[in-house]
């Protein structure tokens, strides 16, 4: 869920996707906004998406792509909740390691670091967030 409670994000492994809902704060009801799929519109790193988090300031979303061995990063529109793909880091590329079968992603309280857990690498990886 976004920090302001206005949107809910679902990582859907079988669809290789993340689906965005807007949320009625009073009733809790969800309304479909969009689905972002791996391989569509240049999006990568969402194969068997296993976990999604939104940064504390609501500006970004991070997705663990379990079968892509990837951490995908999105810009988030704070008004609409819509996500725009910024890129993905993948295990074994560019010096990145510890993402083989990454299943979980979380953020430090201030949002300056991203942490992932990978079940095949038996590893926890640390990332620094840049502007």
């Amino acid at each position: 869920m976004s920090p302001d409670g206005n949107h809910v994000y679902v990582a859907a492994g079988f669809d290789d996707a993340v689906t965005v809902f807007s949320r009625n704060k009073r009733t809790g009801a969800l309304t479909f906004v969009e689905t972002i799929k791996d391989g569509v519109g240049g999006v990568d790193g969402l194969e068997f998406a296993g976990s999604v988090v939104v940064s504390p300031d609501g500006s970004r979303g991070y997705v663990a792509g379990t079968d892509d061995n990837a951490l995908a990063v999105f810009q988030r529109d704070p008004t609409t909740g819509v996500l725009t793909f910024l890129g993905a880091l993948k295990d074994g590329k560019g010096g990145v390691d510890g993402l083989d079968v990454v299943t979980a992603v979380t953020l430090s309280p201030g949002g300056r670091n991203v942490y992932t857990a990978a079940s095949s690498d038996h590893a926890i990886a640390v990332f620094g967030v840049s502007e």
Partner: protein
């Protein structure tokens, strides 16, 4: 323990993230209890990171450097028959 610190470049769009390090179960003594990692959480004060590993039936925790975000392995609680029970099929609450 394997520990890497590198700046990364990837093909395609470059996300605004820098790989800092990773801690992996290895042949050395520490860290241990990381086989089959499934979840990771950061404490609200940001000083510790906790993870749970299904294959090892463990909860593992690290101290966290508040400046760099880097982790230092502290301890793993292991599910041992007859000694400590209740960690098989765990679910670590966020």
């Amino acid at each position: 323990m394997l520990l890497l610190a590198v700046a990364c470049s990837q093909p395609g769009p470059t996300p605004p993230l820098t790989f800092v390090e990773f801690h992996q179960e290895g042949e050395e003594e520490r860290p241990y209890g990381l086989e089959g990692l499934g979840l990771v959480v950061v404490s609200p004060d940001g000083r510790h990171v906790y993870t749970a590993a299904a294959l090892d039936s463990t909860v593992v925790w690290f101290s966290r450097d508040l400046t760099t975000g880097a982790l230092t392995f502290l301890e793993a609680v292991v599910n041992l028959e007859g000694f400590r029970d209740g960690l098989r099929g765990f679910f670590l609450w966020r």
